[in-house]
């Protein structure tokens, strides 16, 4: 996370966000799944058990999609403390394993202040160290004007 403040005027098309490296542990996934009580109470799942994951045709336990989108959003909200996330849209291209280095990147692809919302469009990715993209997407964020 970043404690810097950014303003709409500071940002240009092509500006890069990140990279940010993260490793999601088994414990973090269990804590996340516990928040979703219905799912957690139904017992081990492909998110928390390698055995269940394998029985469903996977090779290992995976990070829930809902957690992946939260992590993708953090790339944006972590860029500066005053970023406001308006919309995020992601495609899960591959299942995301636990305990693996994940690299998050973004790039500013659009800038629009017509609506008065100071909107920035960004492409975002989550990939492995070998460059394989696991989650891709785009988002709209807003930043305040410099007074």
């Amino acid at each position: 996370m970043n404690s810097k403040t950014l303003y709409f005027e500071d940002v240009d098309l092509g500006d890069e966000i990140g990279p940010v490296e993260r490793i999601i542990t088994d414990e973090q996934v269990i804590e996340f799944v516990k928040l979703r009580e219905i799912e957690f109470e139904s017992g081990p799942s492909r998110f928390t058990s390698k055995e269940v994951a394998i029985s469903q045709g996977l090779t290992e336990a995976i990070v829930p999609g809902a957690m992946n989108i939260a992590l993708m959003s953090q790339l944006l909200t972590g860029w500066a403390e005053n970023v406001c996330l308006l919309k995020i849209d992601v495609v899960f291209r591959k299942t995301v394993p636990h305990n693996t280095t994940l690299i998050f990147n973004g790039i500013v692809t659009g800038k629009n202040d017509d609506s008065g919302n100071n909107e920035l469009e960004c492409d975002i990715t989550m990939q492995l160290q070998d460059g394989v993209k696991m989650v891709i997407g785009n988002s709209v964020i807003s930043l305040p004007n410099r007074l």
Binding site: Q28, I69, K87, I88, F92
Partner: protein
Amino acid sequence: MTTDDGIVYNRSLLGVENITGTFEVTRDMILGFARSTGETYERYIGDTNGKGDISAPPTICNIFVTGLSRPDIELEFGELSFFAGQSIECKLDIKPGDILTGRTKLDNVYSKTGRSGKMVFTVWQTSFMNQNSEIVALVNESFVTRNKNA
């Protein structure tokens, strides 16, 4: 190219909105979400003692989406189903004590054929309204179903 030709499912469910649950957002829930996803901003986790005003990270509605009960669309295809994609529009801050009501509808069912064969996509749209009748978030979820041996 996408099409829904030949997909067998219960088409009477298309576009029909149902209230699928009411959820209280607790402080513990927000802190748990923030902890599990590694948030460090004070606005999500409070001060060093975990005290102070907090709001929820913008995608927290996802934990309620998972808990929603949805009707079986009676899709006659495939054995494996995966979460394919999702979009979230964040309309308003969500705070501890907010009571959210979720409304879900089946928005679309379509198929695509790729290298691994035919896949059927099911798209659900969910809105969350707070206790002041304000929409706080809109969530679109897409699930893909395919055959096991594709």
